[in-house]
Symmetry: C2
Subunit: 877 residues, 2 copies
Amino acid sequence: MSYKYVYLFSEGNGSMRELLGGKGANLAEMTNLGMPVPQGFTVTTEACTRYYEDGRQIAPEIQAEILEYLGKMEEIAGKKFGDAANPLLVSVRSGARASMPGMMDTILNLGLNDTVVEGLAKLTNNPRFAYDSYRRFIQMFSDVVMELPKSNFEKIIDEMKEAKGVKMDTELDADDMKAMVVRFKEYYKQEKGVDFPTDPKEQLMEAVRAVFRSWDNPRANVYRRLNDIPYSWGTAVNVQMMVFGNTGDTSGTGVAFTRNPATGEAKLFGEFLMNAQGEDVVAGIRTPQTIDQLKNVMPEVYEQFATTADRLEKHYRDMQDMEFTIENGKLYMLQTRNGKRTAAAALKIAVDLVDEGMITEEEAVMRVEPKQLDSLLHPQFEATALKAAKVIGKGLAASPGAACGRVVFTAEDAKEWDARGEKVILARLETSPEDIEGMNVAQGILTVRGGMTSHAAVVARGMGTCCVSGCGEIAMHEEEKYFELGGMTIREGDYISIDGSTGNIYGEAVPTVEATISGDFGRYMAWADAARTLKVYTNADTPRDAAQAVKFGAQGIGLCRTEHMFFEADRIKAIREMIVSETVEARKAALAKLLPYQQGDFEALYEVMQDRPVTIRYLDPPLHEFLPTKEEDIAEIAGELNITVEKLKQVIASLHEFNPMMGHRGCRLAVSYPEIAEMQTTAVINAAINVNKAHPEYKIVPEIMIPLVGERKELKYVKDVVTATADKLIADAGIEMTYKVGTMVEIPRAAVTADEIAKEAEFFSFGTNDLTQMTFGFSRDDAGKFLDSYYDAKIYESDPFAKLDQDGVGKLIKLAVRLGRETRPDIKLGICGEHGGDPSSIEFCHNAGLNYVSCSPFRVPIARLAAAQAAIKAKKA
Amino acid sequence: MSYKYVYLFSEGNGSMRELLGGKGANLAEMTNLGMPVPQGFTVTTEACTRYYEDGRQIAPEIQAEILEYLGKMEEIAGKKFGDAANPLLVSVRSGARASMPGMMDTILNLGLNDTVVEGLAKLTNNPRFAYDSYRRFIQMFSDVVMELPKSNFEKIIDEMKEAKGVKMDTELDADDMKAMVVRFKEYYKQEKGVDFPTDPKEQLMEAVRAVFRSWDNPRANVYRRLNDIPYSWGTAVNVQMMVFGNTGDTSGTGVAFTRNPATGEAKLFGEFLMNAQGEDVVAGIRTPQTIDQLKNVMPEVYEQFATTADRLEKHYRDMQDMEFTIENGKLYMLQTRNGKRTAAAALKIAVDLVDEGMITEEEAVMRVEPKQLDSLLHPQFEATALKAAKVIGKGLAASPGAACGRVVFTAEDAKEWDARGEKVILARLETSPEDIEGMNVAQGILTVRGGMTSHAAVVARGMGTCCVSGCGEIAMHEEEKYFELGGMTIREGDYISIDGSTGNIYGEAVPTVEATISGDFGRYMAWADAARTLKVYTNADTPRDAAQAVKFGAQGIGLCRTEHMFFEADRIKAIREMIVSETVEARKAALAKLLPYQQGDFEALYEVMQDRPVTIRYLDPPLHEFLPTKEEDIAEIAGELNITVEKLKQVIASLHEFNPMMGHRGCRLAVSYPEIAEMQTTAVINAAINVNKAHPEYKIVPEIMIPLVGERKELKYVKDVVTATADKLIADAGIEMTYKVGTMVEIPRAAVTADEIAKEAEFFSFGTNDLTQMTFGFSRDDAGKFLDSYYDAKIYESDPFAKLDQDGVGKLIKLAVRLGRETRPDIKLGICGEHGGDPSSIEFCHNAGLNYVSCSPFRVPIARLAAAQAAIKAKKA
């Protein structure tokens, strides 16, 4: 045997996580530390990979190696597998590199059969314990390995209790358990057509196979996608000698954390049950005792456990989550790992560990998942109310936070209801830019259509408003103002609650609690800021968003979408006038009406941002987005515009596009209608001049960003319009003011010709939403229909619109960075797509050498932390 | 003066075409050869570029230099500019590097004013001549330099003739001419508000300025775009001493070719007019004499001209197009250039020159414009009938050739009318795949919507059928079966004629003549084949197209679009059944119905192609293309499919896409529905097995092409389905057969990850239609709306869908070639987009190191010649 696929716990150590999985590595480490760990072995992650390579077969040599190690285990334990006189029983558990709840559960008591159970009964002098263990094993094995639903076994138990006239499992005696085993086995045979396996080695091999198989089950695949865990990693399998917490009153089992995982308080936290196996703690039939009470029950064991816990925390230099069992008064440690914790706890623990001298500030920065910060910034459901609430449906977790309110079905209604003091949830088939004011006042937004990057999702994230999008299960009747979901009919005014962090929808009011930011937050974020080199800007279109972002630490605006300013009622009319204009003069007249609004918007932004950079993107969407689509609106708006309905319809038809994503938008509008760029430049420059006059200390340097450029001459054409306009205004004002003109790099041709484009552009901002669409050749609005097949087939493991595709899109970005800097070494480089708020994408940006990332205001703290972690990781590497 | 912007003819030579333009360089060359050329100077193309750089100003130093050279010219001529006693008159003509009809015409007789004309009258003792020259000059200068319409001057002439009661210009005497000058100048002042310029130097400078300005007029810009001439080249200006063909009976003027430009016959060909200026020859008021007749009129001059012509042809080693003037019995050469010629003449001349030992075979290969070959392959209008026909409208020249027939408005009607022996033109708003059979029988296709790459255009080119697309002027009433255009109403059954090489539409029958391929063709193409290294494949979906392509020299099929096979009536039902299937089983059952058709199609293709490679692309279009859109069709088809109308509408709605170009199509279909790829593989392999059984000598190696791949794993997923299916069929048949699996590289991500993709792909075929769309980020269906602004602004100078964008798309192709070969050195690389038939794009493909280009059958000869020219050019460089 040339290759080693199995390790005894004593052969491994804590650094071998890749090979042994987290659980296996930690069991090995505890073993090495001389802690009381029931012995066993780990089948490596490489064996799992090999299993898949071999067409879902465990190769004979690996099977042989497993049995060889089983032999070694028998020697250590002084017991024998399948030996009725002195039986070795084992647990089998999955254990991937990262903890993965989607995978196989534990199987306990493996090694029992009709003979061994008799021996166990004699040996322990406890037939009820023996048969209880046996029936539990059959149940778990059937469920987890053979996929027979657990509930069917529960049904048999219920029937037996009814027949006997009892309520609790504990009221069943040894004979009942024996009878239960017989019924379980009958049921198994009836379903599977074969007898329940009696050979313990066969049981073991089946269990190992089941763990490997569970790596590829749908739950695991979804979990991996959501948590960026590569499919290629595989899982290890841990086979460990059973110890029993259910042998009597000096036995028990429990779980505990070295610190409180909810608050971070530095005090042992956990619970235990005497005379019980692990699953009983979870099942909640008996109420467990708190870990403190163990002090009274078994003071010495408590002392030993507390010391071990302390030692583990110091050893791992992090809060530990431990499982333990007491067998006849003796403590066994079954697992330790860095404990999951809430954001608040994570912050407190990190800060405390620094104060305790256990870790450095940089290490502390690495200890909080950036995405976790979300929950500190948004309202959450009140925990006990949430437990009682019933989920009636699930959509996409499009914008985090929790919201509760009365349902309305139009943006108009949202505004009206809000005005009279009602909290509302705006439910729509899908939102459009015209809904913006209604979205603004809603507690939360719920849509039937659209993905993570739909209009609703993007706008909601920008506002920090909770949003659940794309809940296709909803049967929506917008006109009639009701929808059906999960068997309920929800009408206008009914209370619902939605959770934008999970996608859950509740058909009732679930109270929320406000976000609270503790004092640790500022201290912690200062450490992060000290570590990072990437600047963090924000995408903000309004003074409100900008102020919010500044409060969260934004260092500038990386993307101000000017078109969002155009949808307000008084402005959209002028835009529409512009669109239906037939001459340049008429177009200029319409634009002149917009100018004061636009200039006022920019002035307000400059007031908020002071001398932080403000990057203003020129008009981007196709013009048809500003025109009505419904028959009745067309009639009304034609009237407003003082043109015939036919004429308006003609304009709408002439603006129709087969592929609007690839149509007449972005700088293409400014090439066709340079007067738009003229007006926007006038607004930008005049606003800067005015605010600078009032606050000479700001020294505003406007940054003008031309979208959708694909060719140097195209940028130059628009830039010439900008500079001619700006230079004249500045000269007329008789002041000194500089400004920058740059571009979005969001279409592939811009990336491959970045050396040329950099001749005109003083900065690049990577628009990775569009760049991802064009590079993959699929639109985010349409990809939803087939991306699921792609996840199922493991072609893509994550949503490229959420996590930057480093192999494809990233290659284009790196190319553009290199070419851009060749032409203009001091070119300013940033990113303003959705990816600017995604930690793994931010790490890419750091490594690609960008100067800044820009994200929605509520993502700013996340981005600051992610940027810090990226810098620390890069320094280490 | 540090930089030289002006050259005397005697300072230049024939190789200075870039600097002096074609006309200037050839005048210099003839001067050096000692030929009788009226002396003069050339203002360089660099002066033109400088003019634009300086904001459309002729820099003072250039003006000074022009006047300096005017002085040198006066010295040489012994005459003085503006000197009434001995006046120098000049012609001013534009002259770009390549001949450009879009630009400024000639201005003759410049240097005349009220004083000089008197002098000229005295000097020549011919007042009528002098005033006729003067009025011509005023007319030309006003028209060409000052943009006063020529027709308004003609009106004045007509009024004068009417007043005098005469019909011919020649009936007007010297006094009439004098009066005409007065009237012309009055009109000029009335329109321009200033007097006609009297200073000859001012006249000259205005004329030079007008030439520079004309470089940027709309006609010139369009011409450049159509002929791939860069804007940056600029034009030169030639100022030449006037000689007069209109001084009397021993004077004259003419144009001649050293060989017949229509047939290529090796015999002087041309015409002349005695006592006339150049413009009279063109104006056609008097009928010119053939050049042969000059032998009788002025034998010595003829002899001198014939000798000169012969010398020029030998000197330039190509057929010459010359202008000459005889002034008082003395011959002057005004211009020579390589003559434009028809395709037939080009071929004959090239072959004759080889046979005469004047050029090599390789040089001959360089002498025919590949695009010209088109006219040898398609019917053309009968020349005299064409002259008499009236153009009623113009669309895009979408597929070359001429067609005449009776108009029908539906594909159904086309089939019916054809069946009863009528020749038809199919006129449609736009065509769709369902029209394919009607298109197939039509003489020509006319559409209102759609560009050069619309469905109609692509399919027509594939069929070699004449097509005029995108004639937006047509008011189409499809339902009522008539359309209006150019003031005419064309009803079903009316005769029209269309010219797919010019886009012209005629409201009458214009007889056509069949294409004739002379014996020279085969000999010539053999020389081309010997020179080229690129293979030429064809895009063909039917045995008919394939056979046509083989006749034209195709070496394989580079793209067989399987979906085109699905639109026939009996097949589309099965496709629709597949689309509405709700289970894999139902889908497989529907696919099973398609299998025999598909297999039969492939068998027929293999029979035609024998052992030439056949590349079969798997299903590509989004499924909604197969479903009806009209209410009445939906009802009918729901009935056929035996489902409810509501259900069918549901399916249609579920397949709706916002951006179909970036939606669920290409290999994405095979990922979602692997059974489609299974069926197609079964058809491909079974067909190959069957045909190989019948013809063991063919040794068919099917090439299976997976479209729209963006990621290695995606290709592998589909390839696994293909190989599993194919290997089993081959094993079951008990034969030996190999096949290849490759992919289209048509989305940017495929290009940037080509090293990865090449691990799975045995060949790449660049799908440059889609690659262009994705790289530029605009769809060809929508770009029409703004590309005109881009051409006007000189941002793009050619249509990237017609001529490959080498700077952007080309960079991605080169990257993919490099990466692909790094992984798989022997990977087969080709192109199958529209660009595969475009000569400049073919040159790029040669230089990028591709193995083949694939184009529609009627483009195959063009591609063969273009590939040969590319190879020869590359060898030289």
